[in-house]
């Protein structure tokens, strides 16, 4: 549970979506330390959301727009959640069916 971290990473992504940014510039714009920004960038990089490049002595970061990986990951995650929910609903329906069948076989309810 790292809510602040999540928000920070999201903010970083939003900043990077406007174009490549150096880590120092990001740190200046955000209420977190430079090492913390680097840590967040590493997580984003490992997740394939951000790519790194070197310009002179600076490292620049930008959103990885190649390969549509982000879009694919997004929909994959989305449908996973939706179908998990669907399975839960279906299981509840199946339990309901069983209960109704049980009641039908025994017209007098217990209790």
């Amino acid at each position: 549970m790292d809510a602040l971290g999540d928000r920070t990473r999201r903010t970083i992504l939003e900043r990077l979506s406007a174009g490549p940014v150096a880590v120092g510039v990001l740190a200046d714009q955000l209420p977190v330390s430079r090492p913390a920004v680097s840590q967040h960038l590493r997580v984003l990089k490992d997740a394939g959301l951000v790519v790194e490049s070197v310009a002179g002595t600076r490292r620049l970061y930008r959103v990885d727009k190649s390969g549509l990986r982000v879009v694919r990951e997004y929909f994959d995650r989305f449908w996973e959640t939706a179908l998990d929910n669907f399975a839960i609903l279906a299981e509840a329906e199946a339990r309901d069916d069983t209960r109704k069948r049980g009641t039908g076989a025994r017209p007098i309810k217990k209790g």
Binding site: D6, R9, L49, L68, V70, V71, R72, N85, A87, A94
Partner: protein, 164 residues
């Protein structure tokens, strides 16, 4: 614009449920509201209902709590209890775009007397990559996107942080 624009990008998901094929089809198409991730909404007001008009050519839309409707796409093929194909026509700017189409193909197959499998394929996602401006737009706006992006980043973080 790049070498990948010509190749198809899709996602595939499958789930097995303890219902007969026809029941599973009915549940999926008539009670979408109950399993739809609520934050995935493009309307101005909070999502109240997801509606799928049960016929080929029917509309697929959300209704907000204030009664307003916001179209998501159309039914491209209606073939109960086996298959439904939905056109997801929400562009990268998170607006309904009648000119934009990605296909969500959902098939149901009987696996036993009371069991069936749902296979879902969301095709032609490469159309989101027509230009980088569109990609930027995905990040820029919608509440639905930012919420799920945060969840995704969260998950990515969990996978990449040792010991958690």
């Amino acid at each position: 614009m790049d070498t990948q624009s010509g190749s198809a990008v899709e996602v595939f998901r499958s789930v097995s449920v303890p219902l007969a094929q026809a029941r599973a089809f009915e549940l999926f198409t008539t009670r979408m509201t109950e399993f739809w991730p609520k934050e995935h909404s493009i309307g101005e007001s909070e999502l109240a209902e997801v509606v799928l008009e049960p016929r080929s050519g029917g509309r697929w839309f959300e209704r907000g709590v204030d009664g307003s409707e916001c179209q998501w796409g159309r039914v491209a093929a209606w073939d109960p209890p086996r298959k439904v194909v939905l056109l997801w026509q929400i562009g990268a700017d998170w607006q309904f775009d009648p000119e934009f189409e990605t296909e969500v193909e959902v098939t149901f197959s009987q696996e036993g007397p009371d069991r069936s499998r749902l296979d879902l394929r969301h095709c032609n996602l490469q159309r989101y990559g027509a230009n980088t401006e569109q990609m930027r737009a995905i990040f820029d706006d919608p509440a639905g996107w930012t919420g799920s992006l945060a969840a995704f980043v969260d998950l990515a973080a969990a996978q990449t942080t040792p010991g958690h």
